[in-house]
Each structure stands twice: as structure tokens, then as C-alpha cells.
Symmetry: C2
Subunit: 114 residues, 2 copies
């Protein structure tokens, strides 16, 4: 089977660091493509392509404004990711996890390979 397409959902779309940077930037305000490219130091075609992905999963909307195209944030789809990861909160808080890691560490010291 092929790799999971980046346009599948929010999980795949935000796997790419540049796309996360774009989303973070758009928290500031709506913005035309060139501004995004300039602020983040990415070339315009790359930005357009990333915005295409983000739009397909609904994380941004766009609106024509003169010869420009204004992009804005729609974070709704991030909620699913937030909630899914939130389902693990109890596991990163409990101390027995730390104990288990410690046990693993001891074991690795005895078995210093793979």
C-alpha cells in the first residue's frame, strides 16, 4: 500500500513542519500568499502547494482580494487531533510510566545492542 496521503486528514496534514509553521503564522491574522512566503522564507510555489493541502483538509479557507488571495485559519479540524492526544493524558502523568522506563534503561545497560 502507498504512503498515507498528506491530504487525508488533519493528522497527515500537520505532519509537515512547514505546514505547521504556516498554521501558526495564520493565528496572527489572515494573510496573502506572498506575505506567508516572505515571512517564513519559503518560495511562493511551495507555499501555494502547502496551502492546497491545508485547504483540502479544511484547515484554511481562502478569499480573493484584488489580485491577491487571502488565506485564513480554520482550526476546527485540529480539535480531533487535540482530543485524540488528550486521550493519553493519564499515561503521560502517571509515575509508573517513569518506573517502566527506568526498568528498560537498566535492561539496555545489560544488553547494549539493538
Amino acid at each position: 500500500m502507498p504512503p498515507t496521503a498528506t491530504t487525508t486528514d488533519a493528522f497527515t496534514a500537520i505532519a509537515e513542519p512547514q505546514r505547521r509553521r504556516i498554521l501558526t503564522l495564520l493565528k496572527t491574522s489572515e494573510m496573502p500568499v506572498n506575505d506567508i512566503a516572505h515571512v517564513l522564507g519559503i518560495r511562493q510555489p511551495s507555499v501555494s502547494k502547502h496551502l492546497g493541502v491545508l485547504k483540502q483538509v479544511g484547515l484554511v479557507y481562502s478569499r480573493p482580494h484584488g489580485k491577491q488571495r487571502i488565506y485564513g485559519l480554520d482550526a476546527t479540524a485540529l480539535r480531533a487531533v487535540h482530543e485524540w492526544t488528550g486521550g493519553f493524558a493519564q499515561f503521560w502523568q502517571e509515575s509508573f510510566e517513569r518506573l517502566e522506563r527506568y526498568a528498560q534503561q537498566l535492561e539496555d545497560e545489560e544488553n547494549p545492542n539493538a
Copy 2:
């Protein structure tokens, strides 16, 4: 440039649906590879590969137990994802409020009284 490697961090590792299923399953308890494969209906080599990715980003640990290898959850790295998405909470709240206002508006238009 090549696609972002799945072993980069938690963001990339959880982009794959089967890996999310594995992590969810491991909330239940530690488990040997074959059990995971059987419960989720994935073939053993696939499970081993996914576990390899998850281990590289620190989302699981493993411990030998007889001829088996027990895998367990270490959700620590998911916290970063949870917090990053949490930084957008105000924005999905905002759009929710916008929706509510819009719904209210429609209602007012249909019911143009008090």
C-alpha cells in the same frame, strides 16, 4: 526534498492510522507483537515495522519476555502534539461562536418578533 520521514517525531509517527490504532490498543495494557497483530488484524511483519517507527520516536518501549517481546506505551511525546494543537483552541472556539451567532441570526430572520 524528500517527504518528511515518519521517524522524525510524534507528529509524523501518528500520521499513520495503523500506528494510531496500535497506540490506542496499548492503552489497555502491555502486549506482545502477535497479540497486537491478532487483535488489530494486521500481519506480524507490518506490526513489527510500525512498532519500530513508534519506538524510534519514543512512543513505545519494549521488553523481552521469554521468546516474546512485550511492547508498552510511553505517551510522553504525545504531549507536544497535544499542546501544539491546544494552542489553536481559541480559534476553534471562535469559529464555534461564529456558527452560533449565525444560527441565531437565521432564527431571528425566521422569527422576526420579540
